[in-house]
Symmetry: C2
Subunit: 338 residues, 2 copies
């Protein structure tokens, strides 16, 4: 049966135009059903202007929009009639199989927790974007939702990330590591040392130990576990250095005519390299630990990225990830109580 | 008067050969006096083999060497007769004006604290390497010596880094920022929020607020303050991404004959770019907060890098940085008690 994907028509920098176009592509190419949330009149006007057929989409009209300036928790209170909150409630009520939005990340995490709710036993949801490395991609969990974490939270991030990478990203036996300031097992704070022990003890994940920021971009694990503070530092440094360096190289390649001519020769290959390093290619971040699939799409996503994200949502909804996490977490919590 | 620099002849990957050559360059070009610590017979044999004149160097013979596998605190106990420990004791006793070693970083920090001692009132020494950004360089303090920090420790890192950048690196009014997971002042943990307030309240530094990992490589502050855990994640991710990306680009540039020919055209300019991104160029890291100048030279340093490091040591010893930090810290501690 076709999966029904609820999409926030007013999330992200390019809403609603690119959202509508991406949904059309997804419906045509992936055979999913689309349920849009947002101001119906604006959606219909935009679709007419863009000449995008939305006749087969269901539209759930709602007046408000969560902006980047709104407080995260507003989504469940002041903005409970926003396209994001309504989409999450529809998901919770079973009107759709997954929810995707390119809107405010903080509000997505708060909404996932407050409106969609967590899987029973999951301590915190994890915000888990995909990042490129030299050989492919990896997941960073948590990348900013939880500034401070307990060891058991980190253990769950490892577990949830591993299940997701296996089932949605088709990585066989994904390697899970703990981001730390050294590879030896005594490294980090007390929280890291305890998390190390918990992760090591799990039979259902392939824990490869501590890993440093230096090794992850080269050939690190497929799941990088960390608290949201370190994860955020890692993520933004990753992005900042790559962007700054690419800018510098562009500077070299355009500094004089001779270099410009050489640049023209390698242009296509350099562009392919840049594309392989672009984490927009991976569509976004699942919010792991929700009772239903919630997916944060990159804020700057255009139609094609949204379509990729919807494909991941559909796959997320087709697998039994949530049941598998629920079962594993139930065992973890039972052991904690013993 | 010529500054007397104590140099560990057995620290780093290229000891003693490159150390001896670098010391010779420093003595000739900078007019400093060199005191070497280490196995005198091996030093003399290496100098003879390399035909490096060391007749004007003082050599303090000692039998042991701190290796990368030694525990940090061994430097003050089991290895108290090592070239590193002896050098630090000579510094403490006033036999030289500064100490430089390319040896084990952890042992350098432990030795700085236990043997050279801290400036009165300094809570912890900070390990503060220089890193390149798009417009020059900046200091990261702390980059790994102190995994967990109090707000007052972070405040001192900001103060000490600022004084050093002003006096040794000739940066007028250096900008100081706090590495955080967002720019808003409420970001981070309780420790970050308190550190923010302390740094903001200081009249003697140019605190520009919180900064994200994304902005620092582009045009960040000249002093980046953080705890050693985040600092280590930042530093190694910085290095890892840059190295991985440069490797990828090398791959593109050598993938076929056409690209190789283009690469030949831009080779010199790309090499200059790579050099500007190489943090070996900045010689190493001062260990801030010691009662005397202690400088960690990069482990892989060759003669030229060592000479640059010795130049910084001499400048460090010529300025009144330590007195200035001592005075500022005394005020801070007085205020804390009030």
């Amino acid at each position: 049966m076709a999966k029904r994907i609820i999409v926030d028509a007013f999330g992200g920098d390019n809403a609603p135009d690119e959202i509508l176009k991406g949904c059309r592509m997804a419906a045509d190419e992936l055979g999913v059903e689309i349920i849009l949330t947002g101001r119906e009149d604006e959606i219909r006007k935009a679709a007419a202007r863009l000449e995008v057929n939305i006749s087969d989409f269901e539209i759930v009209d709602c007046p408000d929009i969560v902006t980047m300036d709104d407080e995260a928790t507003d989504v469940a209170r002041r903005l409970k009639n926003s396209s994001m909150a309504v989409g999450m409630r529809l998901l919770r009520e079973g009107k759709g199989d997954a929810f995707a939005s390119a809107g405010n990340s903080g509000a997505m995490v708060a909404g996932a927790t407050l409106l969609v709710k967590r899987i029973k036993g999951v301590k915190r949801v994890g915000f888990a974007p995909m990042l490129p490395n030299m050989n492919g991609f990896f997941m960073l969990c948590d990348s900013g939702a939880n500034v401070e974490c307990t060891p058991a939270m980190l253990e769950q991030f490892g577990l949830m990330g591993s299940v997701y990478m296996k089932k949605v990203m088709d990585i066989e036996n994904p390697r899970v590591c703990l981001l730390n300031n050294g590879t030896e097992e005594h490294k980090g704070t007390e929280v890291h040392r305890e998390a190390y022990e918990l992760l090591k003890a799990r039979k259902d994940i392939n824990f490869v130990g501590n890993m440093e920021g230096r090794d992850i971009p080269v050939d690190g694990a497929e799941v990088v576990v960390c608290d949201g503070f370190s994860g955020n530092i890692f993520l933004k440094t990753y992005e900042g250095v790559a962007m700054a360096l690419m800018d510098k190289i562009k500077g070299v390649m355009t500094m004089n005519l001779k270099n410009k001519l050489a640049a023209a020769v390698v242009y296509k290959d350099m562009k392919a390299l840049k594309k392989s390093m672009d984490y927009n290619e991976y569509g976004g971040a699942p919010i792991l630990g929700c009772a239903k699939p919630v997916f944060k799409v990159h804020g700057s996503a255009k139609a094609k990225t949204l379509k990729s994200a919807i494909a991941l949502c559909a796959k997320y909804a087709e697998t039994n990830i949530i049941e598998e996490i629920a079962a594993a977490v139930a065992v973890q919590n039972q052991e904690e109580q013993e």
